[in-house]
Amino acid sequence: MNTTRTETQHSKGLPWGQQTQQPTGQTQAGSTASSPTDQNSARHTQGQHQQHRSLAVVAANVSRTYGTGEASVKALDRVSIEIPAGTLVAVMGPSGSGKSTLVHCLAGLDVPDKDPNTRIVVGGQDITGLSDDQLTRFRRDHVGFVFQAFNLVPTLTARQNIELPLSLAGKKVNAQRLEALADTLGIRSRLEHRPDEMSGGQQQRVAIARALFPEPSVIIADEPTGALDSTTSHEVLGMLRRSVDEFNQTVVIVTHDPEVAKAADRVVRVRDGRIQADDAATGDH
């Protein structure tokens, strides 16, 4: 899993320096414990690797049903999607259409219905059928999240929030790199503040910093600007766009905002749990 990961990273060449990874015993033990699945997935992805070198996300036949019997809701119905690395994808659709469910499944936060034809590969790692613990470790290493609200842990400072995914994995944090990132996002002066001392826009920037900092395979942003005014939401969007353009980051944004759709490389429209249209955006970037 480490080999594939490093290869995806190479393509990015992030300006705030190569991340120094120092896995502690804890993560080490975790990866050895999960080795059978890992080897499987490694073999599987290695095979596909030549072919999908530039695909950050590959999902095939993903279904998700909530509830059972008559009360069951099919939030996703055999959805397939491929997202090349270094692109900004906007997911749009009416409320309740299954957008959140889709990105949660891609992020290993939600688990699709059991089906032999279902496959989700993110950053070269096959996450189909992983256990809860394995999924948690996968999220630490491969996914960055930006949610609409309640993004930050209220008891931690901005700096501690940004460090969180790495410190949970027991990895060392490069403070210089973190500060450089904070500079880029304009939150350097807020690093020692707690969330309740920051504006909504600043909180979202901290959330973006946290998502970017570990250089994940994909950043999932579920309506990240939904609670912001238009100016601030424009800025936040700009930052996500830059992370794609300048640092070759892969970003998936769930949104209702046509502005966001314009800025995206590609717009995926979801309706009733199915992908209706998947167009390259007509945007100007």
Binding site: T24, Q26, H104, A107, L109, D110, D132, D133, T136, R137, R139, R140, D141, F145, F147, F150, N151, L152, V153, P154, T155, L156, L164, P165, S167, L168, A169, G170, D196, R210
Partner: protein, 758 residues
Amino acid sequence: MRAVVLSRLRLQWTRYLMVLAVVAVSAGFMTAALGLSSTLTASMTNDVVAQYKNADAVVTTKTDATSSFSATPQQIDEISRVDGVDSVWAQYSTIAIPSSSTVAADGSAAPVANLPDDPSLLPAKIEQGTFPNSADQALVSESLAEKLKVGVGDTVSLQELAGAPAGDGEAAGQGVGAPSAAKKYSVSGLSENSATGAFASLWLTNDGLTRFSPGQMMGDRPLQAIQLTLDGSANDARIQGLNTDVARILAAGQGEQPELRVITPEQLTEETIDQLAAGSNVLTMFLLAFAGLSILVALLVVTNTLSVLTAQRARELALLRCVGATSKQVRRSVLTEGLVLGIVGALIGVAVVWGLAVVLKASGLISVVTVTVAPRDLLVGFLTGIVLTMIASLGPARRAHGASPLDGLRGSRAADGVPRVRVVLGALILVAGAGTLVLGVAVHEPLLGIAGGLASFLGVVMTARLYLPPLVQGVGRILPGGQPSRLAAVNAARYPARTATTATALLIGVLLVATVLTGQHVARANLLSELDQQRPVDISVPAGAGQVSPDQIREISELDGVLGVKTTDPAAADGAVAQIDAVQSLNTSAAAQLQEKVAGILNVTPGDLQGALLEKASYVSILEVMLAVTLGLLAAAVVVSVLGIASTMSLSVLERVRENSLLRALGLTRRQLAAMIRREALVISLVATIVGLVIGWAFGTLGVMSLVTEDMTVELTVPWAGFLAIILAAVVVAVLASAAPVRRATRVSPVEGMARVD
């Protein structure tokens, strides 16, 4: 508004479980404490009046039913001829040493009484056989019959005790120390046992008792009571008439004869209860002090839980304000909630205690006492629960009243300020109390020591808000375990007031347990070393036991608990041939066993051995019993505080569902989440425990120092075993208290948790 409160209680009842449990324990403990005192009063009353239960009227002295008076056979005959009197039973009693053909007399005495002429007056049931009808028959209690291995038709021998308290005339006639020959009686029946000793274990006819002890039925023997049966009912007028007749016949109030009266058994019962109530007041006060303590702890826990619940509902309350509820209505809703919780919790607690009492009574397991829970006990316990909950909801209600709806909607929470007045007052009380305690130690005045100790205790509790939260944060920081551990430390200190109150509740229990434990430990160590200096020989073998062989010495020195044996010259001081040194910590049963083993080796009876062993052991046993009783009574307070930790933890976890889900999304594994919650409980419980142990140790040591006289120096010791057990218990408590919150938190999937609004 009432609909709002009730729907909340119905839908979110799980959040209130701990409050209900705490209120139930407090109300139940109160009822149990009062019930215990009622039980003792009832049992003692039964002892006094059980023997009169078949009489219509009883003649006793005016003062009480236990002093004695006298009556001649002629006078008794005269009473029986009074109009309306059916039968008369003048009760005499003495003691005898019983034996049978198979079981020899072992020196223990049994109470002997005369039978009434009218069998229906006999208070003890006849379980087997018949009522004796001649002077050489006896009724024997079942337990004595079992001990003597006799049944109906067998023979028992009764020997008078040398120097028995049998009356002057007879003693003079027979000569003290010259027991008469044993008299034989055939067993005509077996009578009901009396666990409390209210009934005799040997019943003889009047002639039979005269045969056993000729002086017994003669002339002016002391009597405790004369029991009467009457024709028809015993109304007030008849009792009044009897009073005059009996007073005249027995010459009441003249010469040696005390004032007498005739009274019904019912009146006697009431009177005895009144007399005993005064005596059991001390016990009641003692029990109530402990009940009060657990109520204090419960008050902290319930206030805390209700505060947390109200704070969590700030948004909902604000919404109610916005749709038109006045601040008074909001306050009333919090108070109503308290009232409902109080009623339900108190009902549960009181009902459980009442049910236990009923079961205990029905099971007949405890026959020594009459298990009684008076209506008063139930009522007081019930009211305690309600008042406790109402007082606890005053603070939260005041805060709900004062909160602005806008703050609530924004979800911002007023910062936990330090309650200045309470802390300053507490600090003053603490300083004054500690000063008094030290003064008490300096001048060896126990009263100053106790007063100072109580004041310092109050001070420690009142200032807890100042020192507990920083300690919790500090200890949290030094706990190993990476990021989850650090998050736990931050969470534990997140709401300082909440944490301080939770920890204080546990601190109170641990502090008092540590005080008692230390006090007992220090007292024991010092008392025993003092005794050991004064009387170093634990068992001394008197010269009468003969020569002690080297083999015997080796055998004795190999016994458990024996430190050393040495032979001595019988011509020296105490005339012993050997002296044995034993360990100090033996209690009476262990000491008696050791004494028996030594006696066995030496082929003597244990009574032949001398030395200080048994006396030392009796002190050890007294201290052990005191310790067990106090710890038992403190248990309620400790249980309540543990429920408090569980309650705070589950509410905190509930409050942090969204945050915990975010952490899970960002890479916190399930196990790390569980560890984080467990650590939080652990930090709180460890800090409370360690502070409690340290302060309790100081109180216990200083307390003993103020108790002892000037010439004694108190050696400082720490009851390590007990303290370690307490720390271990604190860890277990933390794990148990966080079990439910952990289960709940780890069950929520991150997606679900993030979507949750409240």
